[in-house]
């Protein structure tokens, strides 16, 4: 009969991985397809660790928000420190005129 401990030995999947290793796998999963072993290791950790699940959900949600940055730029008016200074605008305007 396959028990969890002999399954672990057969597959060489460490059932108990640290939060540090699990976070590495969560990050890696955003960059490339995990191997079966990596995927199972990550999933087992996430099933039992609430805070790593928060971490995973938060970085995945933030990624979706960051990707819409240009949309935010179009819709949110710039604050004062996000505007070109009048002096820079004039300089750029003059340079454009000079190089036309």
């Amino acid at each position: 009969m396959t028990t969890l401990s002999n399954w672990e030995e057969e597959t060489k999947v460490p059932l108990r991985t640290s939060c540090k290793q699990a976070a590495q796998l969560v990050n890696l999963s955003l960059e490339r397809k995990l191997t079966v072993r990596e995927f199972v290791t990550m999933k087992i950790h996430l099933w039992t660790c609430k805070t790593c699940t928060f971490y995973k959900n938060q970085i995945s949600a933030l990624r979706k928000i960051f990707l819409r940055h240009e949309e935010a730029l179009e819709n949110i008016p710039p604050s004062e420190d996000e505007k070109l200074s009048e002096c820079s605008k004039t300089r750029m305007q003059e340079l454009i005129e000079k190089n036309r």
């Binding site: 640290s18 939060c19 540090k20 290793q21 976070a23 590495q24 990050n27 890696l28 955003l30 960059e31 490339r32 805070t51 790593c52 928060f54 971490y55 959900n57 938060q58 970085i59 949600a61 933030l62 990624r63 979706k64 928000i65 960051f66 990707l67 819409r68 940055h69 240009e70 949309e71 935010a72 730029l73 179009e74 819709n75 949110i76 008016p77 710039p78 604050s79 420190d81 996000e82 505007k83 070109l84 200074s85 820079s88 605008k89 300089r91 750029m92 305007q93 340079l95 454009i96 005129e97 190089n99 036309r100």
Partner: protein
């Protein structure tokens, strides 16, 4: 009879004398988020306008004027990043990153500060000026190259291969940098944004 295929009319460039007024602030904010330095962002925008002026005859009109200019700016920003990556060896860079990741965990690999239970609501965060301001400040606390690699991946959605080719680093270098950036940014946003809301 087949309906005649209608081609989308090519976009024409507006008069160059209106560019600063039309696109200046947009391009500046775009650059500022990516380089986090006013003077540098201004210079990049200026270079973009000059490059657009030189290349305006090659503008095919397939995209909007602003999209075309943003594309030019994007290349200028990547050129700037590339110069920064040439200054320090990649091995040295990766060692720094790994040491920083270690600081988030104790000896057995448990987090020193556990992530709290919050979830960003895209629609509310997306339209919040303060959120993007906080993000820019949090990015500013990262080492420059880490922030730059993170920006290419997350804001510009470039693929690993493309980033590695541009910056002359390996995928492993990049993944370590992104891991560090996410740990730090998540913690910074939690402290300065989500806990305050």
């Amino acid at each position: 009879m087949k309906p005649e295929k209608k081609n989308k009319p090519a976009v024409k460039l507006s008069d160059a004398s209106t560019w600063v007024q039309q696109h200046g602030n947009y391009l500046f904010r775009y650059a500022l988020m990516r380089v986090r330095n006013r003077e540098l962002a201004e210079n990049l925008v200026q270079e973009t306008f000059l490059a657009a002026l030189t290349g305006r005859r090659s503008f095919a009109g397939r995209s909007a004027e602003r999209t075309w200019m943003t594309g030019i700016l994007k290349h200028k920003i990547i050129d700037h990043y590339r110069k920064g990556f040439r200054e320090k060896s990649v091995t040295e860079l990766q060692t720094d990153e790994e040491q920083t990741i270690d600081q988030f965990y104790d000896a057995v690999g448990s987090p020193k500060q556990y992530p709290k239970d919050w979830m960003p609501e895209p629609e509310s965060v997306l339209h919040s000026k303060e959120f993007w301001q906080t993000l820019r400040e949090c990015l500013g606390h990262l080492p420059e190259r880490t922030a730059n690699a993170f920006t290419m991946r997350e804001l510009d959605n470039l693929e690993t291969d493309e980033i590695c080719k541009e910056l002359g680093i390996t995928p492993t270098n990049l993944w370590v940098m992104l891991h560090r950036a996410r740990l730090q940014l998540r913690a910074c946003l939690e402290r300065n944004w989500f806990e305050k809301k």
